[in-house]
């Protein structure tokens, strides 16, 4: 896959930055002319990944969240979100629908949504050192559909 554009954003893990991160990713990817549904999916997966860094990785303590967005030839994109927080001891368990170590405000559905809204997801984590989530997705855009 040949990369044609990319951006990296590093920001403080504060909940107010969840909307900043998802809007920024969507704005960067606007160059692919995504459909409204594609935009909603991108914003949602970014929101899930970034929220996890803040809530679980750093447990609401200060820490940097890094988001990289890459565009490849043919409309493929890759979104990488990482923290240097506490890490995930058991990744398959963490990715099980409804599994959460959070409080009543968490549903344990973040990974399920990230999986559902991307074509491929990879999670790497080392307890005590942090977590990286990599998601790949194909963006068809609006062109094909408005051809007629």
């Amino acid at each position: 896959m040949k990369e044609i554009n990319q951006m990296t954003l590093v920001f403080e893990g504060r909940s107010v930055n969840e909307s900043f991160a998802r809007v920024t990713a969507a704005a960067f990817l606007a160059q692919l002319d995504p459909t409204l549904q594609e935009i909603a999916e991108i914003k949602t997966v970014v929101s899930e990944a970034v929220t996890n860094c803040i809530v679980h990785g750093y447990e609401d303590k200060p820490g940097a969240v890094r988001m990289k967005v890459q565009i490849f030839e043919g409309g493929r994109i890759r979104i990488t979100v990482s923290d240097k927080g506490k890490g995930i001891p058991d990744i398959p368990q963490a990715m099980t629908p409804c599994f959460t170590t959070g409080n009543e405000d968490r549903a344990g559905m973040g990974f399920s949504i990230m999986q559902g809204f991307s074509d491929k997801i990879r999670v790497r984590s080392f307890p005590g050192r942090g977590t990286t989530v990599v998601m790949e997705k194909y963006i068809g855009g609006r062109k094909e559909k408005t051809d007629a």
């Binding site: 909940s15 969840e18 929220t51 549903a107 559905m109 973040g110 399920s112």
Partner: protein
């Protein structure tokens, strides 16, 4: 932010704007305050003015479902935009609450 309306022990809450981890805590506090004040038999959540919702919205609904159940009432969700119903389907919320 929310708007609300009460009539004959039906509390209808219209959620305005975005539902994520940042906004969900305030929404929960506001909605639960109204539930305690009016003791409705049915809590209707109107999503027509929600322009973003992630899994924090699922937890918001589940929590209000548990609260209303503990008070002997029920929850109904109405006017879901497509992106919201898509997410709620993933959690199979219609098992627990009426979606109209």
């Amino acid at each position: 932010m929310i708007n609300y309306e009460v009539s004959e022990r039906i509390l209808t809450v219209t959620i305005l704007g975005e539902i994520d981890h940042h906004t969900a805590i305030g929404l929960r506090t506001e909605i639960d305050g109204l539930v305690r004040k009016y003791s409705p038999l049915c809590l209707i959540l109107d999503f027509s003015r929600v322009d973003f919702c992630d899994s924090s919205g699922i937890a918001l609904v589940l929590g209000r479902y548990r609260l209303m159940k503990s008070l002997g009432g029920e929850v109904e969700l109405i006017r879901l935009p497509e992106n919201v119903s898509h997410i709620f389907d993933m959690a199979d919320l219609k098992r627990l609450v009426k979606i109209g």
